[in-house]
Symmetry: C2
Subunit: 282 residues, 2 copies
């Protein structure tokens, strides 16, 4: 397996960063994460745009031409030849800061690894969520700050949950690595509008969902969870997964709902069409 580090392709086991890097010193780095299907990166231009936005927000100066990124990602995919699905993580750090504090020229890492997507069983079982009172710092930025998310894994597992739903002042936002959607009594498709990382999968669902219901981005209270007919989460590595309980309370009838299933089928069709080259992937 090859990894791209500062314009060199290295065997992955040789891909390292100096201990003076600001990611290691101060947890200061932006990243993004995209997925390939049969060697084709899904929605690559949108992931690159988001990566550039995150880097700009963190004042990390990186190449701005999408082609610079596409060519390197494409070369990596060609060199690694990972079958089926792979995940590609692009990390832009604060660089090797002489004062251990002030960002300098970033280190850029592009790493690829095989990815197993959730199967039918996981979809049918649905997820158990656990709410936690927290708001991520700089939520619109995809930074490497997952201190709370990693730290909370123990409490989450002790509660028998699969993932965490952040809320603050009785308003839900997102999961550490996923967005959330609710289907209301009126078949409205709702998703939080603020204090979140705007997922690319979320964006595609919003684009696709118009045929299934009215899509509304707005603040959603924690109480609204208990009235929802269906709830699902979405992310690059999970596509769409139903939520069947939150804090041990059953959501809807405790089964994956019809709109969740329809959106999931729609998403897989779109993905397969891109993988088959049926329409342009930008």
């Amino acid at each position: 397996m090859w990894t791209f580090v500062n314009d060199k392709f290295l065997p992955r086991e040789e891909a390292t960063l100096p201990i003076t890097d600001l990611a290691l010193q101060r947890g200061y780095a932006a990243f993004d994460y995209l997925r390939t299907v049969n060697g084709i990166p899904l929605f690559i231009e949108e992931y690159i745009e988001r990566l550039k936005n995150s880097a700009t927000a963190l004042r990390l100066v990186i190449p701005t031409e999408n082609e610079w990124w596409v060519s390197r990602i494409s070369t990596l995919i060609e060199k690694n030849k990972i079958p089926h699905s792979s995940g590609i993580r692009i990390t832009i750090t604060g660089g090797n800061a002489p004062d251990f504090y002030t960002p300098v020229a970033p280190n850029i890492v592009i790493d690829e690894h095989p990815l197993t997507m959730p199967g039918e069983a996981l979809f049918n079982n649905g997820l158990h969520l656990f709410t936690y009172d927290y708001q991520r710092d700089l939520p619109a930025v995809k930074s490497i700050n997952y201190l709370m998310a990693v730290w909370l894994q123990e409490a989450m597992k002790a509660a028998g949950a699969d993932d965490i739903l952040y809320q603050k002042n009785n308003i839900i936002s997102e999961l550490p690595r996923a967005n959330i959607f609710l289907i209301s009594d009126a078949n409205e498709i709702l998703t939080p509008d603020k204090n979140i990382l705007e997922g690319i999968t979320r964006k595609k669902i919003v684009e696709n969902a118009a045929s299934l219901g009215k899509v509304i981005k707005k603040p959603i209270t924690t109480d609204a969870l208990w009235q929802a007919k269906e709830i699902f989460i979405c992310s690059t590595t999970k596509r769409i997964l139903p939520v069947t309980t939150i804090d041990n309370r059953t959501i809807g009838d405790g089964q994956p709902g019809p709109i969740t299933k329809a959106l999931h089928e729609q998403f897989i069709i779109m993905e397969n069409e891109i993988a088959a080259g049926k329409f342009q992937n930008i």
Copy 2:
């Protein structure tokens, strides 16, 4: 210059960590930072205790015998032979996590570098602070999460300030890398008691200060800043530095105050006595 990485001493330019390390992937690592004077590490046992507490809080499993740490730090100091003052940073990361998320066996890095302590001019000028509404996550833990601190540097500089004072709900807590003390009208020596990293320098000041006034750890409102006779900050790399303005408002008479000066002199005497071997450094 030598750096300790996972039980090897490496030339610093070869000291690297794999890109799969959880510090790089998820900003997940504990650290601590101590200082030497003429090759003698100040308060080493107390720094090691705090490091172990941080690691435990982050569920990172490390050697528990202080001697394990003291011997490696001592060897590093002997190998590097840095004159006058050095800073020693010990980092304990979440390790090379196969799932990029769950902590495994930590990577341990001990790095040393020359350190210049603040001179008389900086002490006499005092610092200009800038308040910002923020509460660090897991404040009692010395983690590498400085996302907000680094990100705020630009706004801080634009405001003509030297450092940031965090407050939340009108209660002050700490600076990104320092604790704060106020001297009240009644010559009480006040310092926040909650939602902070308990500094080793802070602890020494509290121990030393009894001869100069009553020391009280308690919640301190932002409004109390404007009534303070003196304010100073303290940290390993700064000892004690007076604060002369906060948000462009003058503190006290805008000059380093008598209690600040006395505590500073006391601290330097203590430090020199340790460096001269006059009493045991534990």
